[in-house]
């Protein structure tokens, strides 16, 4: 039975992977604990529980964040995407597929966080965000190529105790290349469409 809201708890609606969940949370409950202990979404992992390992990474309003330092009550009204929400039916997200194909893990515990983070890294890079590995951050310098150094820097918030970093970098590289190729195809298709419209 759901506890009654009090001055130290609240009834909240959490939007997770496109589905709304109503629950009453003690304000001390982190988003991580709400996901795992209340909603049975155990794909998101608890590592350090203090924002230092990245195992609990999820997307909040499309941006990666550590769920261990987000309070569940403060997550109301935001769109949460966890590792359970990345695949489309039986079709894995391209980043998930790349991690599988290239062995981007050993024990797998940090993997959901790595994949959520990598998905966001590819988006952040596509949006032109620089990183600490970017030599020239001025916008005129243009977006930096997503080199292994850039990927290592951008993924540095996700620790892997097994040390699968070499394959993780390869997996992110492959997924990013596929993402860029898809973006180019979309671009070409758009141009083609425009040409036909003009011709018509």
């Amino acid at each position: 039975m759901a506890p009654v809201p009090s001055s130290t708890s609240s009834a909240v609606t959490l939007n997770i992977n496109g589905e709304k969940h109503q629950l009453t949370v003690d304000h001390r409950t982190t988003l991580l604990d709400a996901l795992r202990e209340r909603l049975d979404l155990t794909g998101t992992k608890k590592g350090c529980d203090q924002g230092q390992c990245g195992a609990c990474t999820v997307l909040v309003d499309g941006r990666r964040a550590v769920s261990c330092l987000n309070l569940a009550v403060a997550a109301e009204g935001r769109e949460i995407t966890t590792i359970e929400g990345m695949a489309e039916g039986d079709r894995l997200h391209p980043v998930q597929q790349a991690f599988l194909d290239l062995d981007g893990y050993q024990c797998g515990y940090c993997t959901p966080g790595q994949i959520c983070s990598a998905i966001a890294v590819i988006e952040e890079h596509a949006a032109g965000w620089p990183s600490a590995a970017t030599e020239d951050v001025r916008p005129e310098a243009g977006p930096p190529p997503l080199t292994p150094d850039e990927i290592r820097e951008r993924m540095s918030g996700n620790l892997c105790r097994c040390g699968a970093y070499v394959s993780i970098v390869q997996a992110v590289t492959r997924a990013a290349e596929a993402h860029e190729a898809a973006a180019r195809d979309d671009d070409r298709a758009d141009r083609h469409e425009n040409t036909e419209e003009t011709a018509a």
Partner: protein
Amino acid sequence: MREFGYQRADDVIGAVALLAADPDARFLGGGTNLVDLMKTGVERPARLVDVRELPLDTIEETADGGLRIGATVTNSDLAAHPDVRRRYPALAQAVLAGAPGQLRNMATVGGNLLQRTRCGYFTDLSTPCNKRAPGSGCSAITGEHHNHAVLGASEHCVAVHPSDMGVALAAFDAVVGYETLNGPGELPLADFYLPVGDTPHRETALPPGALITGVTLPPAPVAARSRYRKVRERASYAFAIGSVAAALDVEDGVVREARLAFGAVASRPWRARAAEAVLTGAPADGDTFAAAADAELAAARPLPDNGYKVTLMRNLVVAVLTELAEETPR
């Protein structure tokens, strides 16, 4: 963790009023530091006033050509902003040098300024710490202090301020704006952090209950050629053991204007005005840069295990200024 109430503020005045109603309340921004400190018991608020939704999330040009950065702008948005990257590149670099992407997406500019030291004794409730428990003593002075302050510390506390962003803001004369029940106010960053003295638990000059609403950067053409360089014990995702934000304007081999600030050496971002005085009007060469560093570091009072920071900062200043001097003027 202590149980606490939670309210989301809709507007700035409402947020200030909510906080004023409860002396044990705290503002919640990104939570990357506060929630962590609540877990360890260092912070025990009775109520959180969530200010993340306040309409303070824009970066706008000011009438005089500076930038006004709202308090709830995230670190990510600050570092990605074209005007910041073009006109104050050291600020973008400083923000990017701190924390990983997950935390930069959460952390806010206001919260960054108010984050607490990462001194291990501050977060260890079993040990004395004057910052956490005034009058209890400082464990670091006789204990583990290899990453503690060499400038501006006192016999009561040697903790360093952990912000990277703040170092660049200090170099560029940022002004912090805030709101209180009695109206708005502002503090230059130079006066924002209090000297340590015998009150290390009192960290800022903000009036009680004040909410930071934003940071204003005055126009600074010199900042267009600026850099932030951070030294840490691993390549990424670690706090600095020393850092430098620097800007340099050189004409005909002579320094016309210089800005210099140090991180991880003091209880606050450390503006190196003694060094700037040596640089201004002097030849832009290695001898000048070393003399400037020495002028600032003459005041250093290292502890037995952090004397390396004096050498590190000297080398860092010379390296960063040399790089800036060699950059093609643009």
